[in-house]
């Protein structure tokens, strides 16, 4: 996998758009997932994901190949999410919570159709509660919890992404876990 990505980034660096399109295909859902869990709505998350890939493209020449490509792209996306959060904080919208099925795409709807209607409501509720608990975390904890438990990355890779020592990552994960526990314990 790493080898394939290395080849693709080298080709993309030379201006090969097909190679870049393949990189988008590999990472689009991961980056969108991270952004969605960070900002909590599809529209902003797609904006961030798009901006991430545009920045990757614009900075390919500066990409240091001694890092994993995933580390680099996750770093760009994480920074964009945190910046967006800073700018957007004052004008949150009440509509977002009202709109049903947010963040649930056709795939998850199809799969949840197989369950009974009651289960569907429960799943929906659980989804919203989890998203709610995440969005109540401070961004510096939220991003790390998402990278750890939704993107399923190792402590070392998270440390590379946010450029902080592993011990700091651990402390944040411990606190993040405690915060999530206190919000989700009555589920």
């Amino acid at each position: 996998m790493d080898f394939v990505e290395k080849r693709l980034t080298q080709r993309a660096k030379r201006g090969d758009r097909e190679a870049f399109a393949e990189l988008i295909e590999i990472y689009k859902d991961k980056i969108f997932q991270l952004a969605y869990r960070m900002v909590g709505n599809r529209e902003d998350a797609e904006d961030i994901a798009q901006e991430t890939f545009l920045r990757v493209y614009a900075n390919l020449h500066a990409y240091d190949e001694s890092y994993k490509f995933s580390t680099w792209i996750y770093r760009i996306a994480t920074n964009l999410c945190i910046d967006r959060g800073r700018k957007k904080r004052p004008d949150f919208s009440l509509d977002e919570e009202v709109e049903p099925g947010q963040g649930m795409d056709w795939y998850s709807r199809l799969s949840s159709n197989e369950k009974g209607p009651e289960d569907k409501v429960v799943t929906q509720e659980l989804q919203e509660t989890v998203q709610d608990a995440l969005s109540q975390l401070a961004p510096k904890y939220r991003s790390i919890m998402i990278l750890r438990y939704i993107e399923d990355l190792s402590l070392q890779e998270i440390s590379d992404i946010v450029k902080l020592p592993v011990t700091t990552i651990k402390t944040r994960i411990h606190r993040g876990r405690e915060a999530l526990r206190s919000k989700l314990r009555f589920m």
């Binding site: 988008i24 659980l126 989890v130």
Partner: protein, 207 residues
């Protein structure tokens, strides 16, 4: 007091980084302490909830939209890509460039002095005043005779081509030239002549 210590161990345990000794300590504490047991259980549940958050997918036209927004590649890059994709044409272009370069150079670098190239120089007579190279009657020159910046007067025999660059070839009635005679006066004639020579060199078998 002991429980607070144990919470730290629980987190190490959840990170998968607990050492054997601490793990034993933790496990025996958990068996005795219901509070810590519940704490661990709640943490594990919270993690499981977050992990179960359904995986969202970006809209299907996402890749196309990003690609449409990419800036146009800079011209130089396009050019270098083109070169990379057409190695043969690139090589041919470089070759042609160097060749015309050397041809122009050999044209412009020449001075006005009379230059003769022939395999039998001793048989030629040079008329300095008229700036003419004479092949005297009754002599035979083997091979080509090339003269720069002067005329050629052929009275005798030449078993090859006679070429005058920036000059004229004058054949007397007694002249016998086995090859062709050529007068080259303009740079394009010169280029054409070089090309022809090159062609002849590259295709020696053809007549």
């Amino acid at each position: 007091m002991e429980c607070r210590e144990m919470i730290a161990l629980i987190h190490e345990f959840l990170d998968g980084e607990i050492d054997e000794l601490s793990n034993q300590k933790l496990q025996s504490h958990l068996q005795a302490c219901a509070t810590c047991r519940r704490h661990l259980h709640e943490l594990q549940r919270a993690i499981a909830f977050v992990q179960s958050a359904s995986h969202v997918h970006v809209s299907p036209d996402f890749t196309a939209r990003v690609l449409a927004q990419l800036p146009a590649p800079p011209k130089t890059r396009r050019f270098s890509n083109w070169l990379r994709n057409h190695p043969f044409l690139t090589a041919a272009a470089v070759f042609l460039f160097l060749m015309t370069g050397s041809m122009f150079a050999s044209w412009f670098e020449q001075d006005d002095t009379l230059q003769i190239s022939s395999s039998s120089m001793d048989k030629l007579k040079i008329d300095r005043e008229r700036n003419v190279v004479v092949v005297p009657a009754g002599t035979t020159i083997d091979g080509d005779l090339v003269v720069r910046n002067g005329n050629v007067e052929v009275l005798g025999k030449v078993k090859g081509n006679v070429v005058a660059i920036e000059g004229k070839v004058v054949l007397a009635s007694t002249a016998q030239v086995a090859g062709s005679t050529e007068s080259i006066e303009a740079i394009f004639d010169w280029i054409w002549y070089e090309m022809k020579n090159l062609g002849n060199d590259l295709l020696p078998i053809l007549p």
